[in-house]
Point group: C2
Chain length 457, copies 2
Amino acid sequence: MSIDAALRALAPVLGDRLSLSKSDLAAHGQSETHFDPTPPDAVAYPRTTQEVSQIVKICAQHRCPVVGYGAGTSLEGHTLATQGGITVDFRHMAQVLEVHSEDMTVRVQPGITREALNEDLRATGLFFPVDPGANATLGGMAATRASGTTAVRYGTMRDNVMALEVVLADGRVIRTGSGARKSSAGYDLTALLVGSEGTLGLITELTLKLQGQPEAIAAATCAFDTIDAAVQAVTATIAMGIPMARIEFLDAASVAAVNAYSRADFLVTPHLMVEFHGSDAGVAEQAERFGDIAQDCGGSAFSWASKPEDRTRLWQMRHHAYWAIIASRKNTTAIVTDVCVPISKLAQAVAETQADIDAAPIPAPILGHVGDGNFHAILLIDPDNADEKRAAVDLSAGMAERALALGGTVTGEHGVGLGKLPYMAAEHGAGWDVMGQIKRAMDPLNILNPGKVVRLD
Amino acid sequence: MSIDAALRALAPVLGDRLSLSKSDLAAHGQSETHFDPTPPDAVAYPRTTQEVSQIVKICAQHRCPVVGYGAGTSLEGHTLATQGGITVDFRHMAQVLEVHSEDMTVRVQPGITREALNEDLRATGLFFPVDPGANATLGGMAATRASGTTAVRYGTMRDNVMALEVVLADGRVIRTGSGARKSSAGYDLTALLVGSEGTLGLITELTLKLQGQPEAIAAATCAFDTIDAAVQAVTATIAMGIPMARIEFLDAASVAAVNAYSRADFLVTPHLMVEFHGSDAGVAEQAERFGDIAQDCGGSAFSWASKPEDRTRLWQMRHHAYWAIIASRKNTTAIVTDVCVPISKLAQAVAETQADIDAAPIPAPILGHVGDGNFHAILLIDPDNADEKRAAVDLSAGMAERALALGGTVTGEHGVGLGKLPYMAAEHGAGWDVMGQIKRAMDPLNILNPGKVVRLD
Ligand SMILES: Cc1cc2nc3c(=O)[nH]c(=O)nc-3n(C[C@H](O)[C@H](O)[C@H](O)COP(=O)(O)OP(=O)(O)OC[C@H]3O[C@@H](n4cnc5c(N)ncnc54)[C@H](O)[C@@H]3O)c2cc1C
Ligand SMILES: Cc1cc2nc3c(=O)[nH]c(=O)nc-3n(C[C@H](O)[C@H](O)[C@H](O)COP(=O)(O)OP(=O)(O)OC[C@H]3O[C@@H](n4cnc5c(N)ncnc54)[C@H](O)[C@@H]3O)c2cc1C
């Protein structure tokens, strides 16, 4: 392996779009969470699929690691160049290529962010629903199999990516999927690549399913006295089959953080934030049925966010909740947990987690996409305090083990990266070895984001 | 490779559940469609995952082919033992293992049929939506990534299988997925195995998503003067986002066949058969909106199937349409086509197909799950007439090429088997080689349903 040789070969191909600048390397070597900085040797900024293919071919020749990079908002150290090499930043491949209104699909380049995409779609009456809290890129979202507040209604990236163009580990370019809504034509390579975190290929184009803007939208918040009451309301709502567009949980600590960060004045108790999509009559019906359940569980009357700008503000507050929670403690860094359990186990999982947190020496607000059974505790630690770090690691491990014991997963949406590697054997058993076999078959030189997702002995 | 040695080793393990009877071999060597009979050397009837694992281990040791078998209703020669070996028939593994009502999921063994499963679920208020026309097994349906009349609303097997237990080519048993609704924990092995047609592993257990029985259901038929008018109504309906539970197309020839076979009296013109699911108000609203569109396209007034038994009869007629079409010509065998195109191309694809059929010397009724852009022409040939066979092969190839040119797929739901192998290179390009790499990694001895889905040079 010779990274230097790869850099020398890449320089004439990319010119000043191969950056060795200290600040560039540092920016791409950082993580949103607690991982130590791990910069790459260079950052490449390709403009075309052809260039991505050339980069990978050259890197394969010199066995130089290649790490894909979208917005860098992933939470498990996904983009860290732990073995050095080239980070491929897709910011110059950020176009909407083609909107197919009648088919309700769009072709995009991987570097476009979800906000830019929806801005671009505004006039079409269509939107792309998957919305992680950060303004992530579609390439990164596909690579992590991301979800967000609307997954309970519209699904995750698994459900919303129809087709991909991918550069493989040897530089070959393939297209997976098609413009058809369904297909039985062999192995589902699209689904295999979605969630592969840049370890099987680099995504250079995506075809996405879009949704029609609903005729009517209504959003509201509802306060509860206890966490359990709020979670019971969620479980009952899902069991009733009410087609919630969003149903988000925040505990009192998260609400307090949001109040401080976003200058809001929610009652500092557990909350649900909900949204209904449909026809006028449909939305009214859903809201009434959910209202009955919430009331049965002791929830407050709804506080409606009626005007579009109020709704935007509500969901912005929710999307910024992570930053709000980080800001709630001085000089802190976060370990983010991401368990997802069967909905019937949600109340138990949250209650036991809360008890563990109460007994721990660190603050850890809880919030989550509870309609899917998915929640996060944001473990806030003083990075220089070893006791706190140990407590956080224990809490995180406890949550992961509990999720598995309850039939769930250690990561509902953030992905494996480095942080969730230690749990993969427990979650998948021999299935994890199969993932390794697939990795070896598709990337025999182990150049694509090496050290992530799978273990290669 | 020694099949005989494998049979000798298997006999003491399975006793009389290893069958060498002529009639058993013949039954398992038949195809629903035009393929020549190709019996296996033996049929195994395992009772447990453990036994399936033992069978595969022994077969691996002796390099003996292993072909999974559900109900044998697949249409592309999927289950034919073209290289001999052991067919593994799952009929004794057909239990419902556990219903999780609150989570709306069920764990089943692979040999249960969709009708038996729904019969079993009846008291729970839940149902499993995916419904191919035949009473297929859930294992077979997962293996072919099947769909049916309700896929337009509830998705295909891709969307409704949450987790699997699978025996791999070396006999190891893995579990993929979990009880959580979503996960980002590494490669999506569930999605990779769904649609792999028994070439990557044998499915010994499935966890499936269920749906709540809708509060209200209404079904209706609507007659049109021309194929184009009916298809335009479909396209407009999907574009409007009306959440159709079913929207099925039959051309006049299909309707005539159904009339004869099921003693019905539909007007012999193109028809849509539709169903609406929701609340009382929701169903009324959907029906009204669809009715307006149908009328705009020159459709007749609805003929409602109001009573549950009328609805059952309607969908039974639809599910039996394939048999009805086969019965419409004496001494015939079928080549079944299965293209799926972007919905915006549906009208063009159907019209051009119809023109080709009009010019051909064989009858070929058209019907399909048009809400997904998926339709079939059932090419009826006299098996002893070489001209007819050639015409059918040409028609089928023309449809496949057109589907690809329009951005679609050569198989929307039936799968590859033997019949669609010739189109895989055109559909997937280098992606087909990647499928081969995965096959080699997971089944290096090529014992699992060899000769299907992929090409191994
Ligand atoms: C405030 C905040 C809130 C968040 N909320 C959510 C949430 O609700 N739901 C959720 O799922 N996540 C959430 N996240 C995590 C993060 O936003 C997601 O993981 C997102 O999908 C990452 O996208 P990105 O563009 O930032 O990717 P990056 O972080 O740049 O990369 C992520 C991974 O994808 C790979 N990758 C990137 N681009 C490509 C490509 N084109 N081809 C192949 N591989 C590529 C990288 O190598 C890396 O492994 C949140 C993060 C923050 C900071
Ligand atoms: C009248 C009629 C109508 C039809 N309508 C539809 C339709 O609407 N939609 C649709 O999708 N299909 C339809 N089909 C095709 C067929 O019903 C489907 O392909 C179905 O999924 C096959 O299921 P099966 O149990 O019969 O599987 P089989 O035919 O027995 O096997 C199919 C494939 O799956 C493999 N397999 C079976 N069980 C297992 C297992 N446990 N583990 C691993 N591999 C296994 C086999 O090796 C084979 O490759 C129709 C067929 C007929 C005859």
